[in-house]
């Protein structure tokens, strides 16, 4: 499978975890991780860090071709 579909799938999967987490498993997403951060907030942070990292990785790979 081409990498652009894999990258899109990863980001949409994380986004869908956040979306489904709101109505379906709010208690699970509220599990404390550290300090005020819970699992839902951690997924949110991970999504926001991973998205630009993948995008710039894709740019570098594309420029090298």
């Amino acid at each position: 499978m081409q990498r652009q579909w894999v990258y899109t799938g990863i980001i949409l999967f994380l986004f869908l975890i956040l979306v489904f987490g709101v109505p379906l498993f709010p208690d699970f997403m509220a599990i404390d991780i550290f300090g005020p951060m819970n699992l839902g907030m951690l997924v949110f942070l991970f999504l926001h860090l991973l998205t630009p990292i993948l995008a710039f990785r894709y740019l570098k790979q594309s420029q090298g071709e």
Partner: protein, 505 residues
Amino acid sequence: MGIFLFLIIIIGTVGLTIVASKRTSSAADFFVAGGKIGGLSNGFAIAGDFMSAATLLGITAIIFGAGYDAVIYLGAPLGAFSIVIYLMSDKLKALGKYSFTDIICARLKQKPIRILAATTTLSFSLMYLMVQIVGAGALIEVLFGISYIWSVIIVTALMVIYVAVGGMLATTWVQITKAILLLVGVTVLALLTLASFDFSFSSMYEAAQSNHGTDGLLTKAGGLGLTSLSAVSLGIGLCLGLAGSPHLLMRFFTVKDKASARVSAGVALGAISYVNILIFFVIGVGSVALVKGNPAYLDSTGGIIGGSNMVSVHLADAVGGEIFLGIIAAIAFATILAVVAGLMLASVTALTHDIYTNVIMNGEVDQHKQIRLSKYAAVALGIVVALLGIAFERQNIAYLVSLTLAIGASTNFPLLILSMYWQGLTTKGAVTGGVMGLVTAILLMVLGPAVWVDVLGNEQPIFPQAYPALFSVSLAFFTMWVVSIFDRSEQAAEDRSKFEIMKAA
């Protein structure tokens, strides 16, 4: 101070517009800045085009009222931009000229597609414009004591000036300026907010939790009371709607090549992620801790002065005093101006490039006449938008954005993605599915709680779901698929054979 900065923003942006107008002579200059914008600059312009009043004002208001559930609003643009950068940007740049419709018309019959896409673009842009105008009207009213109606008129007039006088180049410069101001503004606001708690996240969250109430919904899901259906519908509408937004897509035609288009999307994604993190973890929570229940920001009825959309502006006052309040208010104002300019340009392009030039005149039109008509169109659309803004006063702008994006998700997105990746799509399928998506999205919106109850004053909505996208998007995709696979016409065979153009792009 506030009025001074307000005037600086107006004078500065109008000055940029006048300079840009001297560099705008052809239709390509007017609609896509001659395709000469660099990838980095265009990335900031896309970020400026996307991060609207809903981002700074509306989403902070949602965190303020409902807490954690704002993750759906904040996460959606990342999904949308990922779709655009990985799946769309190369084909957009390779096949597009002035509007996203050019890409679909590369393989489907031009006239019906252009009429449909112009209709969906106008429906989307006019509603989105109205939402931004509502935010701007409330902001100016609170800060400067100018009545809501006059505030709406001022913003609309500025929007028309940017587009009619300076075209895409002026719009780009305004958007880049706004993006930089916003990035600096939210950084300082977040730092000052954290400084109020000695840079202790724990102290800030404790203060916010006690202010928010004992339900713990500041950091736990449930504040918006979404069912599974409504959460998915909201998420789909926001994500796919943004990926099908004409004002964002047309920015990919302003760069010179595919590499610049990809860089643009990457830079925009980085800027949006950064602002989202600050709003979610610091500014939203800080506003609950410092603004909620603070008598300085309550009106005589106990509500927030200016409505909940103003909480980030009140937070600026709480952490930085009157001067910083003026700065953040000016940034919020610039934010709105940049977005409305982009939306207005997309609407004008749909009318003059898609409808007038390619449908009525079959592509044979003098470009100076095209530019002149675009200026008249900007004035006429401005009047319509101002009237809509007055009718929808005091609605939550992030909520209204979600309804508007349902139109983009139900029409432009299925049209674009299927024409790019499904050989079986035919003109008949695209038009029937697009019309179905548009009509369903608007109908369900009107019959739903936001319009049927809140605007028209009825007691119960006819369509009970607040977010219609799941239904309208599914119906649009399904209709395009069914009609296309049963389409055995000559045109259908031609449409399928032209898919090679997409493969090559």
